[in-house]
Every structure is written in C-alpha cells, then in structure tokens.
C-alpha cells in the first residue's frame, strides 16, 4: 500500500509541517489578531493534510471508467471541500467575535486585560 516516498510527498509533508508549526506558534500569542491568523493557518494545514490522505496520484481520473487504468481517491476531495466550507465559516465568525471583543473589552488581549496586565514586555514588542 505504501510506495516509496517521492520528492513531491516530501515537499507536501514539509509544507503541512511548517504551516502547522506557524499556526500553533501564532495561536499561542496573547493578542486576538495573531490567534485568528494562527487558527487559519492550522485549518490550511489540516485541509492540505486531508487532501493527501488519499495518497498523491498524478494524471488519474477521480471517476472510474472503462478506459482508465487507475483512479485517484475521490473521497478526500469531498472531505476537504466540507472542511474548507466549515473552516471558512468559523474563521469569519471568530474575526467578528475578535472585533466585538476589541470593542467591548477595550483591548485586543485574548484574556481581556488592559495593557496585558502582568506581561510588561508586550507593549515594547508591539512597536518592535
């Protein structure tokens, strides 16, 4: 079932890894904007991951016909479509919520503290 890893597979694996790492790093930040970007990157990573769960197949149809010698798994494409729609809606929702939180709490800190409370470095970093 598992073929020799090609350079294409290695490339996709690295992309997923980098996207996930950046997403996790940003999602752990203290302000809402990086958190939203981080969650978006995570959803990109998982969409790509879902897409390749059917293995990478080049030049094959997704629908089996009499002429086709093989086929590419169509199910992950359906799954990833669903996942994209859901993550799109969720991203839109959390952006609106972050804006509302900025308006209601008067700060864009995730924990709602003004000036970041006990994180004195946060201000300096903002300008840096």
């Amino acid at each position: 079932m598992l073929e020799e890893p090609s350079s294409m597979e290695a490339l996709i694996a690295v992309i997923i890894g980098v996207l996930t790492a950046c997403g996790v790093y940003l999602a752990l930040r203290a302000r809402t904007f990086p958190v939203v970007i981080g969650l978006t990157l995570l959803s990109y990573a998982v969409n790509l991951f879902l897409f390749v769960t059917g293995r990478l197949t080049v030049g094959q149809p997704a629908v089996i016909s009499d002429q086709a010698v093989g086929y590419t798994d169509p199910l992950p494409q359906a799954l990833v479509l669903t996942a994209i729609v859901i993550s799109f809606g969720m991203t839109a929702f959390i952006i609106m919520l972050a804006l509302k939180a900025r308006a209601e709490l008067g700060t864009d800190q995730v924990d709602g503290r003004l000036d970041g409370g006990d994180a004195p470095n946060e201000r300096g970093r903002e300008h840096g």
Partner: protein
C-alpha cells in the same frame, strides 16, 4: 428501513428553518409557542424511537440508500436514544425558562436553539466519523451564538476563549480522522472497527496515535483535565437557560468517548484494544479532585455550579473507565441525573441572583430574597441531588458506580476520590446555602444599578426548575426499569459485534 431514525435530526432543522423564516413576520409570543410545541414533538419522536430500540434492536438508516461502508448511516441503538431522550427533555425545560424573558433581544435565539438540538441529535445518531465532525461543528456554531446571546464583556471574553479552543479542537479532530482514513481507508465507524482489528503491525503506531488524538478532542469537549479550563468561565457567564442546555454539551464528549472506545478501540479490537485504558481512569479521578477544589474556591454560585459540572464529568468518565457492564450502566443512569440536576441548579442560581439585586450570585451575606422559603427549599433539594445524598437520584447513581467498583483492583482510588469529593461537595454547598439563606440580613435594594434591581421569583421561572427536579424524582421512582435499560445499553456497547453486523449487514467475522 424506518424513516423514524432520521426524524429526530430532521425535525429540529425544519423547526429552526421555520423559526428563522418567521422571525420578522410573527410576534415573539407565537414563535415562543411554536418552539415549545416543536420541542414537545421532538420528545414524542424520540419516545417513539425509544420504544423501537428498547428491545435491543439496532435500527440503521442509510442516507440516499447507499449501503453501509460507502454511504453515511444513521444508527439508533439504546445508547443513542437514551442520549436523545435526555437531550430533548432538557431542551424543553431550558426553553420553558428562556421564554420568561431570556429570549428577548435577539431574533435568532429560537432558531439557534433548534439548530443546537439539530447538531446534538445528529452527533448522537450518526454512524460515520466524519459526519460526527460535521455535527460537532453544527452544534458548536449554534452554541457560540447561544453563548454570546445578549453580549456583555464577560460573555464576549469567555466566548472568545471557547471559540478559539474549539477551533483548535476541530483541527485536531480533522487530523485524527484524516490519519484514520489514510491508513484504514474508511470512515464508517463499524467498518473502522473491523479494519482496526485486522491492522498490520507496521501501521499500528499511526492508528494508535490517531486514536489518542481523537481522545484529546473528545476530552476537550467533555472538559476532562487538563482541558477543562474553558468551562467555568463559559458556563458561569452565559444566560441561565443556555447554561442549562449546555449541561448536555460535556456529555457529548463523554458519549463520543464511550462510543468510539467501545466500538473502534474496544476490548475486541485486537492490536488496538483498550487504547485509552491507562489514561481515562487517572484523568477522570484527577478531574473530580480538581473540580472539587474549584467548587470549594468559587466566589459566585454560578461558577460553583460550573465546577460541579466538571466534577460530574469526572465522575461519569470514572464510571465509563471502569469498563464493566455494571459500571457503564450506572454511569449512564448517572448521566441523566447529573444533566437534569445541573440544569436545574443553573436556573435556580439565576433566580437567586435576580432576587439579590446588585449582589447577584456572589457568595456574600446579603439581603433576604423574596419568597426565600420556597427558593431555599428548592436550593436544598437541588443541593441534595447534586451532592449525591440519599434519597434522591444522585445517591442511587453514586451507589451503583461504587457498587460496580468494589471488586476491581482500582477500588481504593475510586472509593477514595469519589467519597472525598462528595464530602467536600456537601461542605461547599452547605456553606453557599447558609450564606445565601441563613445569614441574609437587611432589605432588598430595589434601587440598584439600572437593570440590576432585585426581581422576586415568579411561578413561570420556578416551574422549569421544579420540572427538572421532578424528572430526577422520576429517575428515583422508576429506578428499577431505567437502570435495567442502562444496564442493557452497557451490555449492547460491550458487544460491538452486534452493532457491526447491524450496520454492515453481512455476517463478517469480527
């Protein structure tokens, strides 16, 4: 193939659509009645379904008539229907409270409430792992809207944490599902169970990793330690009927853990059998211990009730982790009790908070609330229920779980944690009750800040609380047949072969 199986999923969707279309056309009074009628019909539908599956039959509904491993199936067995029954009864009483004013202010409260029910019913009935993800997203998106209903700084802050955490959880869910699909080539839960049992050794590590990742996701939904931190803030800051409905949300996580880890990674799953066995019991017991500390430390009644929900999740998963027919059956009985009791407590906390003006639900000595003897009596009954003292259903559930644990090697831990947590729970609730009702002094401040002046309890608000408490009394009166049903449910869960044959149709070797 009976269409009744899908009715509890489709009917709330239909009701939600109707309420959404009518939100500008009909006055609030009509929409309230419509929603309540829809909830009664939902209870009737689920009861009809319960009659069909109580005998042990597993009803399978193939969507679009595509046969099992290729299409999506809805599966109604005893466990699904038990969860549906608890959910629909809870939703009715939560809505009965919400129509007393909570639902005003946003036209979308009623559609969102039904959509939440749609997501919950789908999650309980689906037999497909990716479909479970989709229904999780539906119930989460509806819950975001309900949680933030009517806004406010506290609600927005808690909501932001809740949404961000659940988005991260959804990503993890997709990673786990994708990994399982990549290795096993299927998403149907029954088919996954068959494929996982016959897995070649070189793929074992990946499948185990995916299974544990899935456990992390369900633990986040169930608020298991260390993933419970979102719960107290979210539940204590939202409006009372929403918090009451959310009493079922942690049980969705518990249900998923029970379903997936008895079916796909259950005792008969060969190389991946008993995957979370070493993790679940210690985590569940630790959740109880930490939750109890939160109950003791809480300064507001609603936060205290939220921590009681954490404790009950710990208790529930302890029962499931013991893994015997008796303990899982007792856990399912306790699940119904704790859902109703926690919901009643959230509603009651709201009534008390409204009666105390600016003091709200802070646990400080304050003015005597109106009709204190009646509210105090209800508080007393609810506290007995929640802390598991005889003669009510909390005691029965606790007794059955302890009884199931007597002969197991983990007995000292289970007994020690459950009994100590119970004692501290009683102490904390006794302190809250005496602060709220005995050490009350002075008059009610009728001239508090705007919208914060004291409002006495009225029968319209007390009725849902009394209704939920009566459901718990029902659990005691019919404890015999009901615990017989939950025990039969556990028996069905521990024989995944029956489920697999019902879904896949052919008599494959299991």
């Amino acid at each position: 193939m009976s269409h009744l199986v899908i009715a509890p999923v489709l009917f709330p969707l239909f009701a939600a659509t109707l309420l959404l279309l009518l939100r500008r056309v009909m006055p609030l009074r009509v929409r309230r009645s419509l929603n309540l009628v829809a909830l009664v019909i939902q209870i009737l539908l689920v009861s009809l379904l319960a009659q069909r599956v109580a005998g042990g039959e597993i009803l399978v509904y193939a969507l679009g008539n595509w046969p099992a491993p290729y299409g999506i199936v809805m599966v109604a067995d005893r466990l699904s229907v038990w969860m549906l029954l608890v959910t629909s009864l809870l939703a009715f009483f939560a809505m009965l409270y919400a129509v007393r004013g909570t639902d005003a202010g946003s036209r979308h409260f009623h559609p969102l409430f039904q959509l939440q029910l749609f997501g919950l019913s789908g999650a309980f009935l689906t037999g497909d792992l990716f479909n479970l993800f989709v229904f999780f997203e539906i119930l989460l998106l509806a819950s975001y809207g309900l949680l933030l209903h009517r806004g406010g700084a506290n609600r927005v802050r808690a909501g932001l944490h809740f949404v961000a955490l659940n988005l991260a959880g959804s990503t993890l869910f997709l990673f786990a599902v994708g990994t399982l699909y990549a290795i096993l080539g299927t998403l149907n839960m029954a088919d996954l169970a068959v494929k996982a049992a016959a897995i070649p050794p070189e793929n074992l590590g990946v499948v185990r990793a995916a299974g544990l990742l899935l456990f992390a996701v369900f633990a986040l939904k169930a608020a298991l330690i260390p993933l419970y931190l979102w719960l107290p803030a979210a539940y204590s800051s939202t409006s009372a009927p929403v918090a009451a409905l959310f009493a079922i949300m942690t049980k969705v996580g518990a249900y998923s853990i029970l379903r997936v880890y008895t079916l796909i990674f259950g005792a008969e799953a060969g190389p991946v059998a008993d995957l979370i066995g070493p993790w679940l019991l210690p985590l569940a017991l630790a959740t109880m211990a930490i939750g109890t500390l939160g109950v003791l430390a809480a300064h507001e009644l609603r936060r205290q009730v939220a921590y009681l929900v954490v404790v009950s999740v710990g208790f529930l998963l302890t029962a499931f982790a013991l893994g015997t027919e008796a303990s899982i059956g007792a856990g399912l009985y306790y699940l119904a009790h704790t859902t109703f009791a926690a919901a009643a407590f959230f509603l009651l906390a709201d009534i008390i908070a409204m009666g105390r003006g600016t003091l709200a639900d802070r646990l400080d000595p304050g003015p005597i609330i109106a009709n204190a003897s009646l509210v105090g009596a209800l508080f007393f009954i609810t506290a007995i229920l929640v802390s598991g003292l005889p003669p009510l259903s909390g005691f029965l559930g606790k007794y059955m779980v302890l009884n199931a644990a007597v002969d197991l090697p983990s007995m000292p831990w289970v007994f020690g944690v459950i009994l100590t947590a119970g004692l501290f729970g009683v102490i904390a609730l006794a302190r809250s009750g005496s602060l709220l009702f005995y050490r009350a002094e002075g008059l009610i401040e009728r001239t508090g800040a705007a919208g914060r002046s004291a409002v006495g309890p009225n029968w319209g608000r007390l009725l849902p609380v009394i209704g939920l408490l009566l459901l718990c009394v029902t659990l005691v009166i019919w404890a015999g047949p009901l615990s017989e049903y939950t025990r039969a449910t556990a028996e069905q869960l521990l024989e995944p072969g029956v489920y697999i044959r019902a879904v896949l149709g052919d008599p494959r070797p299991v």
